[in-house]
């Protein structure tokens, strides 16, 4: 099955493991990811620029490119996924917003012929594994199960919220990453801080605050017995690695998937 794929900027620079292993694993699992030609930055944090249309244009371009290709759109970075999904919802429900965006994008030279109204189905890579491939199929494809590894799922905030729009899982008691960990043979560790904020962009303004948030997450996970955390978000990984005062390792979930599938170099 073919999907349009939106990697996002960080995945081409700091978070290459997230991107590279996502593609390789997809291939093994029978999914073809076709990178959208000439994609642009997702536009950054949706809520921080709620009323700003310009910053949403690139997300709409990616969405309508997928629509024109007749494919659902897959993203893997939590932050990109959040922006794309929220923008898609706004294009469906907010008539004024959609008409402004479409008015601009259908101007000559913008390269878009048809107005876009949120027709594209958007998947996070984890949803792809759960709903398209199926965790049972993932489990069957595992060659090196991570038996005995106690892994804490770190959701952060962007992957699940706002829950009405993201519609991925229960924002207060999520299961998708835990089910993923089980599928690759690991043992999920449930800890309360798994859906709390890592500090996010506060690291630019107030490092101490970001450190406090990240450390609280890491401490709570290690106290509950986690040997390792998995995340889907480059910013979370950055904060936990650089600001957190706890050396609990944090890896991208795609790295673990690649390891379990036996394709990690």
């Amino acid at each position: 099955m073919k999907f349009s794929y939106f990697p996002g900027c960080t995945l081409k620079t700091k978070a290459k493991q997230l991107d590279v292993y996502a593609r390789k694993c997809a291939e093994v699992l029978g999914i073809t990811l076709e990178e959208i030609p000439a994609w642009q930055c997702c536009g950054g944090v949706f809520n921080a620029s709620r009323d700003e249309i310009a910053s949403k244009l690139s997300a709409v371009r990616a969405l309508s490119a997928a629509r024109d290709a007749g494919q659902p759109l897959v993203s893997v970075c939590s932050a990109c996924h959040n922006v794309i999904k929220q923008t898609n919802a706004a294009m469906q429900d907010d008539g004024e917003f959609a008409s402004h965006v479409n008015h601009y994008l259908t101007q000559p030279g913008q390269g878009q012929a048809e107005p876009y109204y949120g027709e594209t189905e958007v998947y996070h890579y984890l949803e792809l594994l759960r709903d398209v491939v199926g965790f049972d199929k993932v489990k069957a494809a595992v060659k090196h199960p991570l038996t005995g590894k106690k892994i804490g799922a770190y959701y952060g905030c962007l992957l699940l919220r706002p829950s009405g729009v993201m519609a991925m899982d229960d924002p207060e008691n999520p299961q998708i990453l835990e089910d993923f960990i089980r599928a690759i043979g690991g043992e999920p560790v449930i800890y309360a801080m798994r859906n709390e904020c890592c500090g996010g962009y506060m690291t630019l303004e107030d490092k101490a605050l970001a450190a406090k948030k990240s450390t609280a997450v890491l401490d709570n996970a290690s106290v509950n017995g986690a040997d390792l955390l998995v995340t889907a978000c480059p910013l979370c990984k950055y904060n936990l690695d650089k600001n957190g005062k706890n050396d609990l390792p944090v890896v991208y979930f795609t790295e673990l998937l690649a390891e379990a599938l036996g394709i990690k170099e």
Binding site: G164, D170, E172, N173, I190, Y191, A192, M193, E196, A216, D219, N220, V223, N224
Partner: protein, 664 residues
């Protein structure tokens, strides 16, 4: 030709301020058949009614048009006036020139024009009215109360005291409901069991009351005064008439790991059990999901130890069929599941509990024999955080919480906090709230005592996160009045979960054709003036199934519902509504369209012989309406493809005459 009188009401200034009532009366005079027309300040007053009676006599009127308020308000009044004046009550038509005219229009010319049109339509209809006579039906003098909590018990006791037989159907093996699980009751702090169990015993001993426990209503047919109900009494595998309630079997049964629902699964009982010491009926019951004998035929210990010989492994469900004149819904409430609110870590820590679980933990008959101990390690908690409004007043959390206020949580949380401080003064107690709502007799005084005398820390703000870590519960919360964030290391967190109607209420409402609101609470016939009756005749509402209520309110409503039931059962016959559907058999082709849309099951089909033009006979299937069951909704008349179905009082030609008059 009818002789019609038109009476235009001012309703003080309600109508007269936006409608030129005199002009309406004058315009009506020009309509064919109108021989008298006038206006008056309050038509519904005694003087107004006398004016109508005099006019009927003087002008030999045969039909009346009253231009006034909605027929819901005073149609019954004016029908009675007509009867007093000696004409058939169904020769009266109401033109609603208040709710549908004067109240919605701002200027006099438009209001007057519309009022005249409405009057003309009513006049056109009266021309085609025919006298109707309501039928009569007998009243079965027996009541059914569904639910045996404090609401159902009180309603049943009051009906029984008036001399009418009552059946209580309770889904659990014992009556008592939620109140039996409570420890103390606010604001007097008397023990719930001490005031409830005598009432349970009264109910059991009252010769007019039959308790059908471990049972549910399966089918309801009939109508007010004549309900026919099918009740399934589940097999308890113990002969109720023989069991003495000695409890020996519940000590000897080898299957010890059955979650004890009465203690909210915080401890276990045996596969054969009596829910609690004061259960009524005090009869053991076997849980077939856990009993080894019922599951694989290997055991039989209880039968061996039972000296009364009450155990019956072959017992089957029993169907009880009974007729009732009135039915009372008293299905009560449940706390919502707090699963979806895992920011409070209910699924992650045993020390995060709900308020009802807290009741059991402080109850002498509970899993800890009344000692307040942490469920995780049995230690005494030194810091307790109570969180109010978990799922209540939660407009933004659609699908997981409730928009409404659950009403009882502020008071029971104050009670819990106060009792903890009283019994364990070394314990710090925090209560997080959105608002503290205490509008009841002696309620605010009670809450003030918790704060002022008992030193409970009340903090305005919500808890955002509970993180279990190293045996503690790290509570992160906001203090809105001090505008700061709080971090408290607690030993126990108690969630005041919102309450919702019992899950059995929705299917029951469907069986009773009783209406519900979007939250599945039963709707009352009028929110202010008929609060204990369902809009469906003969169905009454008692307790929290109608909305969140504390015990005093529940008991008041339970007695009020009983009074309404007694009023109904004291009648020998009931007058029906003559505005029912009627099928023209010559036009009916037996297609079943009408029966398919009838919400009351009032339409059946009969095979009838018809003489054909060629003098042969032919048997045809035709619709037949049971006038006692038909509620006159009119759904069948619009569904009927051949136009055979018509509604008395609202016949197709009457409606068309009204439309013609409006469009003229």
């Amino acid at each position: 030709m009818q002789r019609i009188g038109v009476f235009v009401c001012w309703c003080g200034s309600n109508i007269a301020a936006t409608v030129d009532v005199h002009a309406v009366a004058e315009a009506a005079k020009l309509e064919p058949g109108v021989v008298f027309s006038t206006d008056y300040q309050y038509m519904c007053s005694q003087a107004g009614q006398n004016m109508i009676i005099d006019a009927v006599k003087e002008h030999k009127l045969t039909g009346l048009v009253i231009c006034s308020c909605s027929p819901r308000m005073h149609e019954a009044t004016f029908r009675k006036t007509a009867a007093n004046a000696g004409i058939n009550p169904y020769m009266v038509e109401i033109a609603n020139i208040r709710e549908q005219c004067s109240w919605v229009h701002k200027d006099m010319p438009t209001g007057t024009e519309k009022a005249i049109i409405l009057a003309k339509a009513a006049i056109a209809k009266v021309h085609l009215n025919t006298p109707l006579t309501p039928g009569e039906s007998k009243v079965t003098k027996r009541a059914l109360v569904i639910g045996g909590g404090i609401a159902g018990i009180q309603t049943a006791l009051d009906i029984a005291d008036a001399g009418y037989p009552v059946d209580i159907v309770e889904k659990e093996p014992t009556i008592g409901g939620k109140m039996a699980q409570l420890d103390k009751t606010f604001p007097t702090l008397d023990c719930a069991a001490c005031i409830l169990t005598p009432k349970m015993v009264d109910a059991a001993q009252n010769e007019n009351i039959r308790i059908i426990s471990y049972a549910k209503v399966e089918e309801v047919g009939g109508f007010v005064g004549n309900f026919h109900v099918k009740i399934r009494k589940k097999a308890r595998f113990v002969n109720e008439d023989v069991c003495t309630g000695c409890g020996l079997c519940t000590e000897k049964c080898p299957q010890k790991k059955v979650p004890n629902a009465f203690n909210l699964n915080m401890d276990n009982h045996r596969a054969i059990y009596i829910p609690f010491a004061q259960a009524v009926p005090k009869v053991a019951v076997i849980d077939p999901d856990y009993c080894n004998m019922l599951k694989n035929g290997k055991c039989g210990v209880c039968a061996k130890v039972c000296t009364a010989g009450a155990i019956d492994y072959k017992q089957e469900d029993q169907i009880i069929e009974e007729d009732y004149g009135a039915i009372v819904a008293a299905t009560g409430y449940n706390p919502i599941s707090v699963e979806k609110f895992d920011e409070f870590a209910y699924s992650q820590s045993k020390d995060v509990i709900t308020s009802l679980e807290f009741e059991r933990l402080t109850n002498a008959a509970g899993p800890t024999a009344g000692k307040l101990l942490r469920p995780s390690d049995g230690e005494h908690p030194h810091t307790i955080v109570f969180v109010q409004c978990v799922g209540s007043r939660c407009a933004s959390c659609a699908g997981k919480g409730k928009e409404y206020c659950s009403k009882i949580c502020c008071m029971y949380t104050a009670k819990h906090a106060m009792l903890v401080r009283d019994k364990y003064p070394d314990t710090e107690v925090y209560v997080f709230y959105i608002d503290v709502r205490t509008p009841g007799k002696n309620f605010d005084e009670f809450y003030r005592r918790a704060v002022e005398e008992y030193g409970v820390h009340y903090i305005k703000g919500m808890v955002g996160k509970v993180t279990p870590e190293n045996g503690k519960l790290k509570v992160q919360a906001s203090d809105l009045l001090a505008d700061r964030q709080l971090h408290i290391d607690a030993d126990l967190v108690v969630l005041a979960a919102a309450i919702e109607p019992d899950k059995s209420a929705r299917p029951l409402a469907t069986m009773l054709t009783a209406s519900m609101d979007t939250n599945d609470f039963f709707t009352e016939a009028h929110p202010k003036l008929r609060p204990v009756e369902s809009p469906t005749a003969g169905i009454f509402l008692s307790g929290a199934c109608q909305g969140p209520k504390d015990i005093p309110e529940t008991v008041s409503q339970a007695s009020a519902a009983a009074a309404k039931v007694i009023g109904l059962l004291s009648k020998n016959t009931l007058k029906g509504n003559p505005c029912v559907a009627q099928s023209d058999e010559l036009m009916c082709n037996g297609c079943s369209s009408c029966a398919n849309v009838c919400p009351y099951g009032a339409i059946t089909y009969v095979n009838k012989e018809f003489r054909m033009p060629d003098r042969t006979t032919k048997v045809r299937r035709v619709a037949s309406v049971n006038p006692a069951v038909c509620q006159g909704c009119g759904a069948c008349t619009v569904a009927c493809p051949s136009g055979a179905m018509d509604l008395n009082g609202f016949k197709n030609n009457q409606i068309m005459a009204e439309v013609d008059a409006i469009c003229k």
